[in-house]
Amino acid sequence: MKAPPFEYIRPAQLQDAIAALAKHGPDAKAIAGGQSLVPMLAFRLTAPRFLVDIGRIPDLNRIIIADDAIRLGPLVRWRDIERSAPLQRAHPLLCEAVRHVAHYQIRNRGTVGGSLAHADPAAELPGIAVTCDATIVLESPRGQRSIAAREFFLAALSTALAPDELIVELSLPPWPPNRRWSFVEFARRSGDFALAGVAVFYDVGPNGQAINVRIGAIGIAPTPLRLTAVEAVLEGRTVTQSVIRATGTAACNSVDPADDIHAPGQYRRALFGVLTERAVAKAGGITLREDDA
């Protein structure tokens, strides 16, 4: 359980980090908080020859709340999100999801950029990024490019990040004040990766109906998913017991999780249906009638 040998590089500036990544290409890997990468190294699931530590680069830990977007630097830690009162108001769904990330000690060190780059299928932040239609900004010697979160996550632990690119920002669309939302996940042990999780949000139309519905899932596919078929069930309707049940049924029908060592696919599918019902009920402020569920 010791990491394979590597050379350690600690650039002082962003340009130095990008130059180091460009120089060493696929032999190099950026490390920030290291809360996903160090276990990967300990298990020898990856063995880069160079680790480029971006942890000391200034200004990469900024949280900017503007009218047009909420921007998080790659070195923003879960702890920073949890403790930012302005962010609780500016993006409550993000903050609630982050409270589910791993354990206290991990949240003190794990970062936004690290979670996105690691791309665990059950990780909370990638799920929020896809559900919210976030944009990820990447920088390389060729300059900056922006990529939609839904196009960034390619497969489990696999992203569109090129070897010489560094994540420099996660940009979330602004959050209207009266939006209804919830985030629900289930893990067998507190702090474990979730077996499944769901994020729901919608705005309230003039007649109290749900509009602009977004429903996203984690843990049930190789990447986080937006489930437009489930969104369509809720779109334009008010949240009632029967609508909640219909979203749960649609959720089960929308996903096809594979069997793995943690759970059979059928179990995960059923779990996801239940979690979707709970999430929609919670977003709507309705107590789910368990006998009907």
Partner: protein, 166 residues
């Protein structure tokens, strides 16, 4: 063979220097290079919490930090909690409540709870349990640990109000 590098940081108030391979974790550096064996190593992949230390005020798993990343950091290990031979209020509370049996997990729990109560001296039982979920104890069943932590809160609240150092 890869070359070693020198890393400098502070442990329990004392400046230290160690010559380490880049791949050496902070946990191994503390134990093998600095001979501070109070920090225990359990799972070596960030699950068990036994190796928790306090880095620049925040509880972190020292098996998930490379020693080189600790350059210029301020580190507190379990050895740094007590003043000389006098138990800290948290340690004394663990003794009073029988909050340990084999003691393997205890250094990580003490450092975690010291960091928590230093920042949140009014932490609720629910909060203590939530944070404690990052530390695996196979002996106690956690009940006595929660009681010990809750009982120690007064000392931290007094400290926050300008009382004696912990």
């Amino acid at each position: 063979m890869l070359s070693s590098s020198v890393v400098r940081f502070t442990v329990n108030g004392k400046p230290v220097t160690a010559t380490v391979e880049a791949r050496m974790t902070l946990a191994d550096c503390l134990r093998h290079e600095l001979k501070l064996t109070g920090t225990h190593v359990g799972c070596e992949h960030g699950i068990c919490g036994a190796c928790t230390i306090i880095m620049d005020g925040a509880a972190v798993r020292s098996c998930l930090v490379f020693a080189m990343q600790a350059e210029q950091a301020d580190i507190i290990t379990v050895e740094g909690l007590a003043a000389a031979d006098t138990l800290s209020p948290l340690q004394a509370s663990f003794r009073k409540h029988h909050a340990l049996q084999c003691g393997f997990c205890t250094p990580g729990i003490l450092t975690t709870m010291h960091a928590l109560l230093s920042e949140e001296p009014d932490a609720s039982a629910e909060r203590v349990r939530e944070v404690l979920s990052g530390n695996i104890c196979r002996c106690t069943g956690y009940v006595s640990i929660v009681e010990a932590v809750l009982d120690a809160r007064t000392a931290y609240a007094n400290k926050a109000a300008g009382g004696a150092a912990l």
